[in-house]
């Protein structure tokens, strides 16, 4: 009994939070699931029943494999466990197969792989300095950060209702960030390289990693005024980083290079035929652009400036994934979006190079890269906002200014995810969870910084 007492007392609040959210995830098992559920079932089937040479060619189902090879291996590993739940789900021809055991297996696989995310959050909490805050547990930055990450609304509804595997992928990203904070640069680089080969969407933040590692790791020292000291360049470090990236990529793409399938793999990974905007518009710049185009074309039609016969019938709002031409404003090409994105991330990259501020500066640059790519990228999903929200949580418990930006970002970002769940039974869930997360984040951050300013004032007056 004393052992149980010790286990449930003391520093076990983290376990309680992690267990609590895991139980909530279990309660979400019978909720609505999107086509992503079938996507992943299909990938289990493909990787289990077909040889590697067929993985990126298989097209029985419309949901073809379009993630990098490590994810395919991950599905392969899962499929071996899936065998014991329901053999039928591993048949490529069983389209839309969703027996109760399949559902249970898939949902539990997401919940189980979230363990990596929990571990990453634990590591991130170690990077937070919480000595200045109050004595009360619920007012400590570590506690607040743990809740903001573990109970993140976006992650909960995207992973455990809509169905995806962002939990452990975000865990990998947060872990690599934590390693960079802990000055374990090689591990951080390795983890990010692995992450890239799990889901290539993380290319959005690759520039931040590249520039930071080059500037703050390969150049081992700075001049007193903070600018670059060219003669401190360490070839060894550069080579070792390059080696890590090379080896990881070789492990991932090697087999497909040997099979001469690289072009096919890349065409699957980067399907530029898909169109500027995703089926449901991600709230980015191009959505505004398309809306403006639509408004102008309607005005043009009304004012008889445009010829109705020349306007294409299909609409960008119809929910279809296809290429589209704008009517009034110039059409946007993938190259144009790339240029816009590069322009947008340039200021933060410059700052990271010329005025490095350590891991915190890197984190800011990472968030800005994620946001810029979200705003100007080609075929962005609204779920990509999570790439910016989760790292921002780390900054939010540090400074009051960051906290207010975080609150705006997270509230609007989470609200923009609402269209993902459009069924009636899930309506109360998304509203309740959104309210819960928003109310908690606002009140806890407000209290934290009220306390911090109080303590700082106390120190000032005591001198």
């Amino acid at each position: 009994m004393a052992a149980l007492g010790a286990a449930t007392g003391g520093g076990s609040w983290f376990s309680a939070l992690a267990l609590g959210v895991t139980l909530l995830k279990c309660l979400l098992i019978p909720t609505y699931r999107s086509t992503d559920f079938e996507v992943h079932r299909n990938w289990l089937a493909i990787t289990h029943s077909l040889p590697i040479s067929q993985w990126y060619y298989e097209a029985t189902s419309e949901w073809t494999l379009d993630y990098p090879p490590f994810f395919a291996w991950f599905e392969y590993a899962l499929s071996h466990v899936a065998r014991y739940f329901d053999q039928e789900m591993l048949n490529v021809r069983n389209l839309n197969y969703s027996s109760s055991r399949t559902l249970l297996f898939q949902r539990f696989s997401v919940i189980f792989t979230d363990t990596l995310f929990v571990y990453a959050v634990h590591e991130c909490c170690k990077c937070i300095d919480g000595k200045k805050a109050g004595k009360e547990l619920t007012e400590k930055p570590k506690f607040i950060l743990s809740v903001l990450l573990l109970w993140n609304f976006g992650l909960l509804i995207v992973d455990h209702i809509h169905f995806q595997y962002n939990g452990f992928l975000s865990g990998l990203m947060l872990l690599s960030i934590a390693r960079l904070f802990q000055k374990r640069h090689m591990e951080g680089a390795f983890l990010f390289a692995v992450l890239l080969h799990f889901k290539h969407i993380y290319l959005y933040v690759a520039p931040a990693y590249g520039v930071y590692l080059l500037r703050s790791y390969c150049f081992t020292a700075n001049k007193p005024d903070g600018s670059i000291r060219w003669n401190s360049f360490s070839f060894l470090r550069l080579i070792s980083l390059g080696l890590i990236v090379f080896l990881v990529s070789a492990l991932s793409l090697g087999p497909f290079l040997a099979l001469n399938q690289l072009p096919q793999v890349f065409s699957r990974l980067f399907p530029f035929k898909r169109g500027l905007c995703h089926a449901y518009w991600a709230p980015n710049f191009w959505a505004l652009y398309s809306a403006l185009d639509k408004v102008l074309s309607i005005i043009g039609l009304e004012l008889k400036l445009l010829d109705p016969s020349k306007i294409p019938r299909a609409s960008m709002t119809s929910g279809l994934v296809q290429q589209f031409q704008h009517t009034v404003l110039p059409s946007v090409t993938p190259l144009a979006t790339l240029i816009c994105t590069l322009i947008a991330i340039l200021p933060s990259i410059f700052c990271l190079w010329f005025k490095p501020q350590g891991p915190r500066g890197f984190l800011r640059c990472l968030i800005l890269c994620a946001l810029s790519s979200f705003m100007f990228g080609w075929h962005v999903h609204e779920k990509a906002i999570l790439l910016a929200v989760l790292p921002m949580s780390l900054l939010s418990v540090g400074k009051a200014g960051d906290a207010s930006i975080f609150l705006i970002l997270t509230t609007t970002g989470h609200y923009s995810l609402f269209p993902l769940l459009f069924t009636a039974p899930e309506l109360p869930i998304k509203i309740l969870l959104m309210l819960l997360f928003t109310i908690y984040s606002i009140s806890s951050l407000k209290t934290l910084f009220r306390l911090l300013s109080f303590f700082l004032q106390k120190r000032k007056t005591s001198f």
Partner: protein, 507 residues
């Protein structure tokens, strides 16, 4: 201000858990011809909106009492009527006379679940929040943790949002009653409790403690002055509220009698189905239901019930206190549950509510009791295919209590409120120091047994000769636990005054 936000967060979490549980199956889903409690509630909406009041409780061509006839007091009927008006507005097919029997659809399920949530949100949850906010001598954090634990109690969530019932309405009214009476708003408290009784007659389990407590208060104020005034006012409130609720049924004697016959089916027998009370457990060894004549069964049950609750009630009348009141609620309800006739397994919720209220005073024992109470309903939950939500909510509740109250560190004599009892026993047996350790061991045995039985019930098939083996085992184990708790709570009540008296002597 901060307390406001955290309490809101706790309420939102409670609501989320409730709604996610409601996504699962309900009682009698897809099981014609009788279906289950869900269909019963839908049927009552059909009856109340389509038939005149005079026919609600009577057998007729339009109202077949054999098919889920109304057997709750008028307030349930009025509530069903209200829901039926909303249903009519949305989709009249849901409550069309005769043709809507066994109606099942996703939209209808959403509607029914929403009615439960709204009733809960309006009555039960505010009562819990107010109760926890008004607790004295504890920090804000503990108040909020208390609210979290009460709102996460699995039994009520699983029955109301899984099986499908409206217990939160009657329990909510009863809680308002407790609040009113504990904080000297006696008239409002008794009004609320009358509403509770008029919603579900099982609330009569709580009526004796209310009566004794209020009577005790009147005595204390002096029967010659203020006490008598209070007594008269209370009597008037009770009578007025009953008349108000039963008004349409007081017009004819036959109406009133028929309603009473539906509420108290004395013809039915000592118990039905498997329930964790004494009679069902005893009948495993000796079939008293078949041996003894009907009126003897009722007499025996009456005697046992009243003998077991008399000491606590007398004590409450002589020394009325809010703390004693809460504990007496527990022991009375438990006595009724164990010894009364025609008890359903869901009636354990009537005991669970008062136990939730004493969670702060004896966190360890309360958590233990609430776990057993949920376990005792296992056969019902398995029948409704609610295994996953049951396991998850029980674990969530356990974690919430364990972290909020550090229950495993509070197992000393003092924490278990057994200090005065132990001191008294030690006068005769000086070596009686091992009580906490015994209780800890009993807890471990109890939990292990419950886990094992759950695993067995889920994975194994019962032998052909004993198809109800697991249900009976569950009832047996739960009954033993409940008997232990009956003794425990009575000890706390009886020895509490001695402690108080000794304190007074010392002072």
């Amino acid at each position: 201000m901060e307390k406001c936000y955290l309490m809101t967060a706790v309420v939102l979490l409670g609501l989320t858990v409730r709604w996610t549980v409601s996504l699962n199956s309900y009682s009698g889903a897809g099981k014609p011809p009788m279906f289950g409690d869900y269909e019963a509630q839908r049927h009552w909406q059909e009856i109340t909106i389509n038939l005149p009041i005079k026919q609600w409780y009577f057998n007729g061509s339009d109202n077949n009492l054999q098919y889920w006839g109304l057997d709750y007091p008028p307030l349930t009927a009025y509530h069903s009527l209200l829901c039926a008006y909303v249903a009519k507005f949305i989709n009249p097919d849901w409550i069309a006379l005769h043709t809507s029997r066994g109606y099942e659809s996703q939209a209808h399920k959403l509607f029914m679940r929403a009615t439960v949530l709204i009733a809960d949100l309006l009555i039960y949850i505010p009562a819990v929040v107010l109760y926890c906010s008004c607790l004295k001598e504890i920090s804000t954090k503990k108040k909020i943790a208390n609210a979290l634990c009460i709102l996460l109690y699995p039994g009520l969530i699983l029955i109301d949002y899984g099986h499908f019932q409206y217990n939160s309405v009657s329990l909510g009214f009863a809680l308002w009653g407790v609040l009113g009476v504990s904080y000297d708003w006696d008239l409002l408290g008794s009004l609320a409790f009358c509403l509770a009784i008029n919603y579900k007659q099982m609330e009569l389990y709580h009526s004796l403690p209310f009566f004794c407590f209020l009577l005790g208060k009147c005595f204390k104020k002096g029967l010659k002055g203020k006490g008598l005034v209070l007594l008269i006012k209370l009597a008037c409130t009770v009578v007025a509220s009953f008349i108000l609720c039963w008004l349409p049924f007081f017009t004819e004697r036959e109406q009133t009698l028929q309603v009473l016959r539906r509420l108290f089916p004395v013809d039915r027998g000592l118990f039905e189905d498997k329930v964790a009370n004494i009679w069902c457990t005893f009948s495993v060894f000796l079939k008293i239901r078949d041996i003894l004549p009907h009126h003897i069964q009722i007499m025996i049950s009456f005697c046992f019930t009243f003998l077991s609750l008399l000491p606590a009630c007398i004590k409450l009348t002589l020394h009325p206190s809010p703390k004693g009141f809460k504990f007496t609620l527990v022991s009375c309800a438990l006595s009724f549950f164990l010894f009364s006739f025609q008890v359903h397994e869901k009636s354990i919720l009537l005991v669970s509510l008062p136990v939730c209220l004493v969670l702060r005073e004896i966190p360890f024992m309360s958590t233990w009791f609430l776990l057993v109470s949920t376990f005792s309903m296992l056969p019902l939950l398995l029948k409704d295919e609610l295994l996953m939500p049951s396991v998850v909510t029980v674990m969530a509740f356990f974690i919430a209590c364990a972290t909020s109250f550090s229950i495993f560190e509070k197992t000393s004599e003092e924490d278990l409120q057994l200090k005065s009892f132990s001191i008294s026993v030690r006068k005769y047996f000086p070596c009686f120091t091992f009580l906490p350790r015994i209780i800890q061991h009993l807890f471990l045995i109890s939990v292990i047994t419950m886990v094992l039985l759950t695993l067995m019930a889920v994975t194994l098939d019962p032998p052909q000769k004993l198809p109800d083996l697991f249900s009976v085992l569950v009832c047996f184990v739960s009954c033993l636990n409940f008997l232990f708790f009956l003794v425990y709570f009575n000890i706390i009540i009886m020895w509490d005054s001695k402690n108080g008296r000794n304190q007074k002597k010392i002072n």
